[in-house]
Symmetry: C2
């Protein structure tokens, strides 16, 4: 039975779609075309993942490994992630069409409870050289990193093995109340994580 | 000029749509029809907000207060939030159609980097009687509350004035690494926020 695969595909779809929404809003707020282009790349990936998931669900149903209802639920959840991914692409499209959003609109998006910040890691930052899995940044600041710009390179989908370096530009997401501590750590103004 | 209103509407739309996605997945994972029904309620609200936003954007353009491109960008961002809200409703629909998801699929959704937890606040919890604005739960645990079930009542859209009470069932969202501390605080096993 290929259930494990369906499960993995569905999780990957969900995570990619939600990352895309965050990256898309970041692209609009920080007027960043690289982020917007990454959203387009991810949208192609999501389409492929969803196609694979739908085939798998039907194959498993045919083989008697899933009930008809279970297969339908999987297909519906996959389609919902794809719809969210499509919406994210349309948000990124606002950035790519070279429309400069009115500053007041940008500010309002940044006033969400869940906010998106961009900060450069200074030479003095305690984060320099730290592995994400070792410092539990998210549980100490309520913010987590969605993308890193290192020189000309972009790192998307960071994980516990990702090492932060001085000079990195971090794009992070999280609770408004944690932003100040997070930014102070990155800028080297606070030393205790 | 009614720009301030457009800005507020867009923010409310964005927040409601993203809350709906979290509530919808929570409804599926925790097999909870109340949460799923709330998603439907919110979807009606989002439709109204978006209609109002679109009218306002065109009105402002007509009055010369917005460039054509700016008005279009606002309309597009509003439509994207509505599309995300629709996807959330379709996720909630999986729960409302009485389809029990395969346990392996539920587990996989819970393995996201961003997770959804449900926990009951015990009599011994330090959270009992605390106002959210005073304890900065999100920046200390990386988790924030999306809904509270208090007796038969539901509280959605908590804010800094919301007071947590023993007996509350908290639905929260956040970084996986903060979950354990959050749950231990709610269950009274850890006392230091």
């Amino acid at each position: 039975m290929s259930e494990k695969e369906a499960e993995e595909l569905l999780l990957e779809l969900k995570e990619k779609a939600e990352l895309m929404v965050d990256l898309a809003y970041s692209s609009v707020i920080y007027d960043n075309k690289d982020l917007a282009k990454e959203v387009y790349e991810l949208e192609n990936l999501v389409d492929l993942l969803n196609e694979e998931l739908q085939k798998l669900a039907i194959k498993d149903a045919k083989a008697g490994e899933l009930e008809v209802n279970e297969a339908l639920a999987i297909i519906q959840l996959g389609s919902c992630s794809e719809a969210i991914a499509d919406a994210a692409r349309d948000i990124a499209d606002v950035e790519l069409r070279d429309v400069e959003l009115h500053p007041i609109i940008k500010e309002s998006i940044m006033e969400s409870d869940e906010i998106l910040v961009k900060v450069k890691v200074s030479e003095e930052s305690v984060l320099d050289g730290k592995k994400l899995g070792d410092i539990q940044l998210a549980s100490h600041t309520g913010m987590w990193i969605i993308a890193i710009k290192r020189g000309k390179k972009w790192i998307y989908g960071v994980d516990k093995n990702t090492i932060i370096k001085a000079g990195d530009i971090l794009f992070a997401k999280g609770a408004r109340e944690g932003m100040e501590h997070f930014v102070a750590l990155a800028e080297g103004r606070e030393k205790e994580i």
